[in-house]
Amino acid sequence: MSIWEYANPKKFMQTSAWALPWVAGLTLVTLIGGLVWGFFFTPDDYKQGSTVKIIYIHVPAAMMAINVWAMMLVTSLIWLIRRHHVSALAAKAAAPVGMVMTLIALITGAIWGQPMWGTWWEWDPRLTSFLILFLFYLGYIALWGAIDNPDTAADLTGVLCLVGSVFAILSRYAVNFWNQGLHQGASLSLDKEENVADVFWYPLVVSITGFVLLFLALVLIRTRTEIRARRLQALETRERMA
């Protein structure tokens, strides 16, 4: 039993059909639990007042924005090297989710920045990098939409994802060099000194789990849709030929 068995669309459909209700249920529990906990049952921060509650959506969304792209990079590589169709379709399925996560991180950041920094938008390195990441998502999704042949589209978007990753990281450092930022350091890191206090930390972890599971559930559904769409396309072609 190796992980590559899931690259078989049929096997993937069976397993995902079994897993989907569980993932969806857990998503509901953790996402709603984390957000409700964060919204109703956490104290205000002594400096930021109640705006600290935005952290329970901003931080998970921002983490997902980056991690979804990383996941797309891995699945694109698997497609380019081992040519498993499910992998390419999973990358396609994940991109819009990642784009929405980036958008959420940007919007909640702007809403938080308005009372805290006195401005909706600041050309701060982190904000700017997220805007650039958003543009990369847009380009990636647009390229998928523009090409008719699914294998060609998968190949080209895969290459774009590779080159884009390199330039996204490069942009991150360029932007850092170009402007010093207002944005605080990492809220979560292994370095305990930097971390947020425990009262904020536990609901945040639940909320992050919720976002990860939500992403997983959405990608499973969307990948299943893509597989069905491919089969539909194949059947239609066969019918036209006959």
Partner: protein, 53 residues
């Protein structure tokens, strides 16, 4: 019911509202397309006389 959010109520409620709206929109689009493709595939398979899939 809603905790006292002080002067930042608009910001906090706004962020939660935007986020929930965006996520619900994403879920809705995903489910809608899933249902549409599923139906189209079922119709196609029924027409071609094979129930497997």
């Amino acid at each position: 019911m809603i905790p006292d959010l002080g002067k930042y109520a608009g910001a906090v409620l706004g962020s939660y509202a935007v986020t929930i709206a965006l996520l619900l929109g994403l879920v809705a689009v995903t489910l809608w397309r899933s249902a549409k493709v599923k139906r189209a595939l079922a119709a196609q398979e029924a027409r071609m006389g094979q129930g497997d899939g």
